[in-house]
Amino acid sequence: MTTIEITRRALARDPEGFLVDSGEWTPEIAVEIAQESGIAELTPRHWQVVEFMRERYLETGTAPSIRSLGKESGVPIKELYQLFPKGPAKLAAKIGGIPKPRGCI
């Protein structure tokens, strides 16, 4: 527990709470960010989405949009909104320790 406390204090985050360095992410950090965002427990379905996002980001350099998540993560959009209320792509990215998905202008 102490380790997490220390780690968390040392982590740089942007004003919206996204990790600045995605390399500092650990599953423990995911749990903490989820809790502060109002998700009490990360279920296997949550993890499926968070891990998909992270993998995709590390592979391509950009976080997938909600539509790509719905098509490719194996979790339908309706359920994504139940798992991650309001903005699933944004919230799952935050929990996964990757930057906020870049909205295309």
């Binding site: 790509s68 098509k71 490719e72 309706k78 994504l80 309001k86 295309c104 202008i105």
Partner: protein, 401 residues
């Protein structure tokens, strides 16, 4: 446009250039915004594609079935097979209203419209003409969309249109967006939200449409909020061209071509490039982007054919006029790194102002179709407007918000 640029760079004995398209109708798409308000005629914004091409460019009218990347050839619906040394994918986007539940159901093209295609814009013109009051909802289902400012412009012009008809007090105008503000980037988003408020247009944010009910007139979000409407003006989901999705290895899940943001070469093959809306780049799907990409892309294609390293780099430069109604418009200018900022354009003394309403910007927008047909489509550059975003004229010192 890219064919014209390449034809000017390469003699006919150096390269054969063939343009393939499913029809011979080129639409000046920015004009679609004005059709519903009777401010533009379809006849003025649609012209034959063949007339826009330079001499020495072949035109083949057929739909593409698929691209066989491994064989360097394009297979067409009419059975033709076109082998290539270099392929440029410039397919734009496809509207996908069928991806949203209920949108194509009861009420589609009756009380639910889009102005993003010619037929839709004409039908909406008739619907607006017969509209005498009620709730008008302007909505974009999700990004990415072509010209992300167009639905905002539609809301501004609708305010202007109903005011001029003398029925503005009987119309409730609402702008519904999945974004967390009026626009994607903070400075512009705040200014545009202020403009919506000043015109009495209600702004509903973070509303991701999951379902549309045309019988009762309701937008329903994935998280089960509702917005009622009498008349819905929607921008349906966008995807890439069908054949891009069908061609193994060419497109992503949405049918866009994964593309290197600087060189504009596809990640699929070294001899395949992509331009404009067809790419997956994190930048506006807008005509100005395609124009600014054109120079870098043409240069890189020429280099590739000569066996040289690709050198030209696109910086994500984009700009657009935003119609704000009552004969005014504002202008934004930005790139991959720099969000739209206030200031002057194209130099620090203007003459155009950035992120601020003016008549001159509106006149710029009115002049633009001529520039489009006579300068941009032929693949020429505009004097004074560089492909690289100008730093001068942008005000970076902003008051804390």
């Amino acid at each position: 446009m890219i064919a014209n640029r390449l034809r000017r760079r390469l003699d006919e004995d150096e390269a054969h250039i063939t343009v393939v398209d499913r029809d011979d109708l080129h639409v000046y798409q920015p004009g679609l915004l004005f059709v519903p308000f009777g401010l533009a005629d379809v006849d003025d914004i649609v012209k034959p594609r063949t007339r826009q091409l330079r001499r020495g460019i072949a035109f083949h009218e057929a739909a593409v079935d698929r691209v066989a990347l491994e064989d360097d050839r394009v297979e067409l619906d009419d059975g033709t097979i076109l082998p290539y040394d270099v392929l440029v994918v410039a397919t734009g986007v496809t509207l996908q209203p069928e991806e949203t539940e209920g949108l194509l159901g009861d009420g589609w093209r009756e009380r639910m419209f889009t102005f993003y295609d010619v037929g839709g814009a004409e039908q909406l013109a008739r619907a607006l003409d017969g509209f005498n009051g009620g709730r008008v909802v302007v909505n974009l289902v999700d990004m990415p969309i072509k010209c992300p400012v167009a639905p905002l412009e539609f809301a501004f012009l609708a305010d202007s249109y109903f005011t001029e008809r003398g029925i503005r007090d009987r119309v409730e105008l609402t702008y519904v967006t999945p974004l967390d503000g009026a626009f994607t980037k903070p400075v512009a988003s705040e200014r545009l939200a202020g403009l919506l408020a000043s015109k009495g247009i209600e702004l509903v944010t973070e509303f991701a449409v999951g379902e549309v009910d045309g019988n009762t007139g309701r937008l329903v979000s994935w998280d089960e909020r509702e917005v009622p409407f009498d008349l819905l003006v929607t921008v349906p989901l966008h995807g890439g061209a069908g054949y891009v999705a069908r061609s193994e290895g060419l497109g992503d899940a949405l049918g866009f071509v994964p593309t290197d943001p600087q060189t504009l070469r596809s990640l699929a093959r070294p001899n395949v490039f992509a331009i404009g809306d067809a790419t997956n780049l994190p930048i506006s799907k807008a005509g100005s982007v395609t124009h600014f990409e054109g120079e870098a892309l043409a240069e890189n294609v020429v280099r590739f054919l000569a066996g040289e390293e690709l050198a030209a780099a696109y910086d994500g430069h984009a700009n657009c006029f935003i119609e704000t109604g009552f004969g005014k418009a504002l202008l934004i200018d930005f790139n991959y790194e720099t969000e739209p900022l206030p200031g002057r354009f194209p130099t620090s003394v203007g003459p155009l102002s950035l992120l601020e309403e003016s008549r001159l910007n509106h006149l710029g927008k009115l002049m633009f179709p001529w520039i489009y047909w006579h300068v941009l489509l032929p693949g020429r550059d505009l004097p004074g407007i560089t492909p690289e975003m100008p730093e001068r004229g942008k005000e970076r010192q902003l008051d804390p918000v």
